[in-house]
């Protein structure tokens, strides 16, 4: 006989109460875990996707839409801007670098992004197969896009017009895959990358009726967005105002817009987190009531332990150990459920080509949840354990009433 076995046996002497307590603890922990896992992975993904981008320039419209379309590739862009703006802003003394982004086509739901090879380096992407594009209509496929479409080096594919995947195919301008990227955990995994010239060529071939048309389109070439990096922090003060003052241009600060986005999403996560905390508090109360009644029902068993020579602290330890078993069981089930639900959510999001989410992760806040659960069990057990500590053993020697 040992403390763990004795407390385990006592715990399961009241199976209904034990199951109810475990269920309450598990549900609270699962809710809190899902919120923590999703919010941490969302924040990490945002940080990865935003790293090194100080300002995004697009067509006049909503700054949030510009960020969502140009950085996270979730929304449609606000429009296009003249291609000549690439070199103009590149030459600006406050600007360290400019990477153009051209959107418009997709392949099986994956966006085809016209850009420069610098984008790969800037996003920390690494090739696992092949090489970067060197000529128009050569493409490099992100890891997730390659996995889902089955595209490999040497294969050819035809993009369709639009970002939804149900537009007209550009059959006259097929792409050739020349490289596949290693997984990065960022948005680039879902993209198909090519040169800006490829996007122009595909659309000019699709729209131009004759050579004159083609010359006109070449003169009016556009890109969708520019990703800017400041030369100095001072640029953050004046550059957005300079850009916004230009006709047709809109700047969007990723830091500001994502903070706004997280504030909006944050309301939801706070509600869920609060719901989980309420569930945990209810579970704590339920554990307390369960243990309180258990000590009353089991008073003679516990008093017998005192009669057999167990010091009061040893008897109280049985009650605390029961609470700790509940905490351990609740943690095992609750965390398992939380991670399972997160994995399920990740699978659902993956099917919709949204953010990458995994259940095989550990949010730093979860250590605090584990500690809080153990503390909750300790607090719930405190009064019942004190009752057990102070049991009147002499009652055992009194005649039954």
């Amino acid at each position: 006989m040992n403390l763990a076995r004795l407390s385990w046996t006592y715990l399961w002497a009241r199976p209904l109460v034990t199951v109810l307590n475990l269920l309450l603890l598990a549900l609270g922990l699962a809710a809190v875990s899902v919120v923590l896992l999703v919010s941490q992975q969302l924040e990490d993904a945002l940080k990865r996707d935003l790293a090194g981008i100080d300002l995004v320039v697009g067509a006049k419209g909503s700054p949030m839409q510009i960020i969502l379309s140009g950085v996270f590739h979730l929304d449609v862009p606000t429009g296009n801007i003249p291609a000549e703006s690439i070199e103009r802003w590149r030459a600006h003394p406050l600007v360290a670098s400019v990477i153009p982004i051209s959107l418009g086509d997709s392949y099986r739901g994956h966006r085809i992004v016209g850009t420069e090879p610098a984008y790969l380096e800037d996003r920390g992407a690494r090739l696992v197969q092949g090489r970067p594009w060197a000529a128009p209509l050569e493409a490099v496929v992100g890891a997730e896009a390659a996995r889902r479409t089955g595209l490999a080096v040497g294969e050819r594919f035809v993009g369709v017009h639009g970002l939804g995947g149900d537009g007209e195919p550009h059959g006259e301008s097929p792409y050739t895959v020349v490289g596949v990227l290693a997984p990065t955990g960022s948005v680039i995994d879902r993209l198909i990358l090519t040169s800006t010239e490829s996007v122009w060529e595909v659309h000019e071939a699709a729209t131009a009726l004759d050579d004159e048309d083609r010359r006109y389109l070449e003169a009016e070439r556009e890109v969708t967005l520019l990703l800017l990096r400041y030369r100095s922090p001072l640029a953050a003060v004046s550059l957005p105002r300079l850009i916004n003052a230009e006709a047709g241009l809109q700047s969007a600060s990723p830091a500001l817009e994502t903070a706004r986005l997280l504030r909006m999403v944050g309301v939801g996560t706070e509600v869920l987190r609060g719901f989980g905390a309420v569930l945990l508090a209810v579970a704590g109360l339920s554990v307390f009531i369960g243990l309180y009644h258990a000590v009353r029902e089991r008073a003679s068993d516990l008093a017998m332990l005192r009669m057999l020579g167990a010091p009061p602290s040893r008897v109280a330890a049985v009650v605390v150990a029961e609470a700790l078993w509940l905490a351990a069981g609740g943690l095992a089930i609750g965390l398992g459920l939380g991670h399972g639900l997160t994995a399920l959510l990740g699978w659902w999001l993956e099917a919709r080509q949204s953010m990458a989410l995994t259940g095989w992760a550990w949010a730093s806040g979860q250590w605090a949840v584990v500690a809080a659960t153990v503390a909750l069990a300790g607090v719930s057990a405190a009064l019942p354990a004190w009752q057990a500590y102070r049991l009147d053993v002499t009652r055992l020697l009194q005649a039954p009433r």
Binding site: M304, L305, M307, L308, A310
Partner: protein, 213 residues
């Protein structure tokens, strides 16, 4: 040898209960009688080191039990006292074997292993009940299991409170025989509190010291 002199105890806001002085030799038998409320249970609790007297001295085998602190009392009780309470207090959550195993756990005594437990049950003829739950036992069987628990660590003092209550004549006789035989075999002192005429008649042959409160 158990000796007490001027022994007295007072519950909160209660009267002072005084007990007559007594000397009991090793292996002796004390028959404790008295109506309800006369302090019988209190004296048993003092002897079992569950209460500390407010006055007087209690020496058991040369140990001044009245002067021991709470921790020492627990350790002393675990080592030297076996109690057979009127309500047996066998836990229905545990098997018979686990009920006995609590003796070792309570005293933090690792020598009380499964073999020792089975041997203790076998001595009282109930080894086959080891895996049963107490609610599956007859009154006599349960009494034997409780006796095995009381005697497990070879106590110097065995206290039995109404050991035959709710037992039929045959079962009562068997339990009394076992109680007497097992304590005598160990040279332990036996204190029996009872109202039961059958107990008094059976134990009369052993020439007990009688104390009527």
């Amino acid at each position: 040898m158990i000796v007490w002199e001027g022994l007295a105890y007072r519950y909160a806001r209660g009267p002072l209960l005084r007990f007559p002085d007594l000397q009991l030799p090793d292996g002796g038998l004390l028959l404790l009688r008295g109506a309800s409320g006369t302090g019988k249970s209190t004296l048993l609790a003092l002897l079992a080191a569950l209460l500390t007297p407010v006055e007087g001295r209690l020496d058991i085998d040369g140990v001044a039990v009245h002067s021991l602190g709470p921790r020492e009392l627990d350790a002393w009780r675990a080592r030297h006292v076996g109690v057979l309470p009127q309500r047996l207090h066998l836990s229905d959550s545990l098997t018979v074997l686990d009920n006995l195993a609590l003796v070792g756990w309570a005293a933090a005594d690792r020598s009380v292993d499964r073999g020792a437990l089975l041997a203790a049950l076998a001595q009282l003829g109930v080894a086959e009940l080891a895996e049963r739950r107490p609610h599956e036992l007859s009154g006599g069987q349960a009494q034997r299991v409780a006796l095995a628990r009381a005697l497990l660590r070879g106590p110097r003092l065995v206290i039995a409170d109404e050991p035959t209550a709710s037992l039929d004549d045959d079962a009562a006789q068997t339990v009394l025989d076992l109680l007497q035989r097992m304590t005598q075999a160990r040279g332990a002192t036996l204190v029996v509190a009872t109202h039961d005429r059958r107990v008094m008649d059976t134990l009369a042959a052993a020439s007990p010291v009688e104390l009527c409160l």
